[in-house]
C-alpha cells in the first residue's frame, strides 16, 4: 500500500489533522489509527462550530468529519469550511453512507467518503488520495 510518507520535499514536517466527531469513542478510535501513522499530529473537535473555529486556527492538512452530530451537522460544517478555504481537504466518515448523503457531502466540498467502521487501510487510502497533488498551504495561526 502507498505510503503516507510521500509528503513532498520536507518529510520531517508532521502532517496535521483535525478529527471532528461528537462521539468521544469515534474520536478515540480515529486518533488511535492516526497515531499509528508516522509523523501525523491530530487535533479534535466535538461539534461543527468547534470544528470551524479549530480549522481556522490550525489550518490542518486534512479533516476527518462525521455527518450525524447534534447542532451543526457534518455536511453543513464541511460546506462552511470549504467556502472559507476551497483548498480544504475533508474526508467524511459516517455510518450513514447512502448515495444521496454521499453525493451531498461531496457537493459540499468533501474529497472522500469512508463508511464506518473505519480500518487502518481505509484511512490510509483516503489520506493518500486527498493529499495527492496537494498544494502548499499557509502556516497555521498560533
Amino acid at each position: 500500500m502507498e505510503s503516507l510518507t510521500e509528503r513532498g520535499s520536507d518529510s520531517q514536517t508532521p502532517m496535521t489533522c483535525l478529527i471532528v466527531d461528537d462521539s468521544a469513542f469515534a474520536r478515540f478510535h480515529l486518533k488511535r489509527l492516526i497515531d499509528s501513522f508516522e509523523n501525523v499530529l491530530a487535533s479534535e473537535a466535538a461539534n461543527g462550530n468547534e470544528a470551524i473555529t479549530e480549522y481556522r486556527r490550525l489550518k490542518p492538512d486534512f479533516v476527518l468529519m462525521d455527518i450525524i452530530m447534534p447542532g451543526l451537522e457534518g455536511v453543513e460544517t464541511v460546506r462552511r469550511i470549504c467556502e472559507s478555504d476551497p483548498t480544504a481537504r475533508v474526508i467524511m466518515i459516517s455510518s450513514i453512507s447512502h448515495r444521496e448523503k454521499v453525493e451531498e457531502a461531496l457537493a459540499a466540498g468533501a474529497k472522500y467518503f469512508i463508511p464506518k467502521p473505519v480500518t487502518t487501510d481505509d484511512l490510509r487510502r483516503a489520506i493518500d488520495e486527498v493529499l495527492r497533488n496537494r498544494r502548499e498551504k499557509p502556516e497555521a495561526q498560533q
Binding site: F28, S95, P115, K116
Partner: protein, 154 residues
C-alpha cells in the same frame, strides 16, 4: 410494523457485530411483544423519523456493556466511564446507520437521531403501546437485545 425494515436492522447489526466483535454472533428467536419493553442495565436508544417513525433500543446488562467496551477500546474498562458509554453508543449508531443507508438507497426516506445511552437498574421503556419486535443477539461478550418499533406514518 415495517418488518422489512426490522429485518434490515437485525441483519445490519449482526453483520456489524461480526465485523467488530468477532464471528460468534447469532440471533436467537425473534418475537413480537406488546409495549412496554423491559430493559436491563444499559439502554441505547436511537429514534427514527422520515417516511416511517419509531425507535430501536439496544439493551444489555452492565457486564456485557463493559465487555463490549473493552473489546472496542482494546483494554478493560474501569467502570461506566464517558468513553465506555460513547463506545456503546457508537456501536449502536454504526449498526443502525448501515441499515438506514440501505433503506434510503432502496427509495424510502429514513433518518436516525444520535444515540442516547441510559444506565440504571431494571430499566423499562414505556413506548406508546406499539408492537415491539425483540431480537436477542448473542455475542462472545454477552447478549445484546434489540427492541425495534417502526411504523409507517400513513
Amino acid at each position: 410494523m415495517r418488518l422489512d425494515f426490522v429485518r434490515m436492522f437485525v441483519d445490519s447489526t449482526t453483520e456489524l457485530f461480526q465485523t467488530v466483535l468477532g464471528p460468534t454472533v447469532g440471533v436467537k428467536s425473534i418475537s413480537v411483544r406488546p409495549s412496554p419493553v423491559a430493559g436491563r442495565d444499559v439502554l441505547t436508544i436511537i429514534s427514527l423519523t422520515g417516511d416511517s417513525q419509531g425507535r430501536v433500543i439496544f439493551d444489555m446488562d452492565l457486564f456485557t456493556a463493559m465487555q463490549l467496551a473493552g473489546c472496542l477500546l482494546g483494554e478493560p474498562s474501569p467502570g461506566m466511564t464517558p468513553l465506555v458509554r460513547s463506545s456503546i453508543a457508537e456501536l449502536a449508531s454504526m449498526a443502525i446507520g448501515q441499515a438506514i443507508s440501505k433503506i434510503n438507497d432502496s427509495g424510502s426516506k429514513l433518518r436516525m437521531s444520535p444515540p442516547i445511552v441510559i444506565t440504571g437498574a431494571n430499566l423499562v421503556s414505556y413506548d406508546q403501546c406499539f408492537e415491539t419486535l425483540v431480537a436477542p443477539i448473542s455475542t462472545a461478550y454477552g447478549e445484546v437485545r434489540m427492541n425495534i418499533t417502526i411504523q409507517d406514518l400513513n
